[in-house]
Amino acid sequence: MDLLASEWIKTRSIRTTWILAAGAVLVTVVVSLLGISGLMAGWQADLPADFDPTGVSFKGILVGQILVATLGAQAFTSEYATGQIVTSLTIAPRRAVLLVTKLAVTALVALATAVLTVACSLGASQAALAAAGLPTADPTDADTVRAVLCAIGYLVLTAVLGVALGALTRSSSGALAVVVTVALLVPALAPGLPGALGDLAGTYWPTTAGQASYTTTGTGLLTGPAGLAVMAVFTLWTTLAAHLTLRARDA
């Protein structure tokens, strides 16, 4: 408990934490609204048959997740960059305990950030859709509720993944490179992969599967919680790798 409180003091006393959290909210809302303004342009007035008013509200997560993952990575990378890690490991020499504590504090900060991000993005997007006379999401619909919860869960998992990547790479730029590759590059390139490989990557790549979880239409085989579960398993393995690396390497 003491270590948890200690990590919380460390997290809250660095302005970067709050800049990244506020940035994630802002960027997600703006990018979602930009997506909707694209729909409102006259030449795109013909909506696709499977138009998903919930899913479009979360389009901005694609960019916002980068900031959330960076927020997570900071937990370790800022300590390695500044030498603070020496102090941290001297007062908490059991590295697995330090890792778990950092994961817990980051997950809590990410949860608050995710709730705010998802609420603002959904609210703003629905308002924009309604103003444009486009279909809006039904807040009482079970699929909408599920998508909202999955979006929050996805962002929290992204932050946890960031912590693990921070521990593995020990460098902000290294962690960022991996995050961008995993969350943006591979999903963008997957459709170009040949045949079965492309289908597989387009469905089961962890962030792609995770992002499908907060649409109400889903993409192909994986919908909702199943997509989030793929992301969760990937995050778990990465965290395990971070644990083993942290334990084996000299600080």
Partner: protein, 307 residues
């Protein structure tokens, strides 16, 4: 003042290799409570690596570095056992000094009220709200010392604690280390400022190329590694040189002074008696004491030759 439960640091055949480079090569020594132990060695001797192994930051290739018989990660309350400052960089530069100490205090279950106390103790009372990155090197050292001491640890490890301190700060750090040892704590500090080490340390652990050169009280270390050396001045240098040579002493004219003579391997009493017996007047007779720095430099340079 309170007394501590004594805790001993111990290196057992400690070895650390980085690929083909052996940084620490079979070190065995103990650092005992109640005295200030100086950790001495030229740059690259393996001092920092050894200190990092005591703290569990680096893992020994073989052997062990223990604190009270346990590896630090095995001790139930690490902060009560060891406080350390390895370099002044152990602090996030954008975090306020008071927040940094509050986080450390909280991790060890230490009362929040210790934060202003410690800031006051290290002379940072007025600047706790400033980010550590704004501090001078000396102020960072002070914050590092506060970080090490906030948990009231039985063992204190400082790597180059005097770096960046002004003369007043150096005197303060010196008396702080002596006080910590007087309270029964185990105090281990490294420094390349040998004059300061000579004034502060009671005991020395000297390493070179990762191997132990000496583990003994400071005074004994200097006595063991210096020969008696006397400087004499006389108006009648040729006769005194002759008299000393006849008495079997190694005497040589002092190149810097026309009337000076250097005698090695004898004390002032012996040189004085030889001069008196020969009826030669002396204008000066001084025992030249070698400093720790002289001893250390001679020692490490002969070691280099031997290697």
């Amino acid at each position: 003042m309170h007394t501590m439960n004594p805790v001993t640091l111990q290196a057992h055949a400690l070895q650390k290799r980085y690929g083909r480079l052996t940084a620490v090569d079979g070190l065995s020594f103990a650092v005992r409570p109640g005295v200030v132990t100086g950790f001495l060695g030229p740059n690259g001797a393996g001092k920092s690596t050894t200190l990092r192994m005591f703290l569990g930051l680096d893992r020994p290739t073989s052997g062990a570095a223990t604190v009270g018989g346990l590896r630090l990660a095995e001790t139930p309350h690490p902060m009560r056992v060891v406080g350390a400052m390895l370099d002044a960089r152990g602090v996030h530069p954008r975090r306020a000094a008071a927040d940094h100490l509050a986080a450390v205090a909280r991790a060890g279950g230490v009362a929040r009220s210790r934060v202003p106390e410690m800031l006051e103790l290290v002379g940072l009372g007025g600047v706790g709200n400033r980010p550590a990155g704004d501090f001078s090197l000396g102020m960072k050292q002070r914050l590092g010392i506060a970080t090490a001491l906030i948990g009231d640890p039985a063992v204190v490890i400082f790597d180059e604690p005097l770096n960046g301190l002004d003369p007043e700060g150096i005197r303060w750090a010196r008396s702080l280390m002596r006080d910590l040892a007087a309270e029964g704590r185990t105090v281990l500090f490294s420094s390349h400022l040998m004059g300061e080490m000579e004034l502060t340390a009671d005991h020395l652990v000297v390493i070179h190329h990762g191997r132990l050169l000496a583990d003994q009280p400071l005074a004994a270390f200097i006595a063991d590694h210096t020969t008696e050396h006397v400087r004499a001045r006389t108006p009648d240098r040729p006769r005194l040189l002759e008299a000393l040579a006849r008495a079997g002493l190694r005497a040589a004219p002092d190149a810097a002074r026309a009337d000076g003579i250097d005698v090695e391997g004898a004390g002032t009493d012996r040189v004085g008696r030889v001069a008196a017996a020969a009826g030669i007047g002396l204008s000066e007779l001084t025992a030249v004491r070698e400093s720790l720095e002289d001893v250390f430099l001679t020692m490490t340079s002969t070691q280099k030759d031997a290697a």
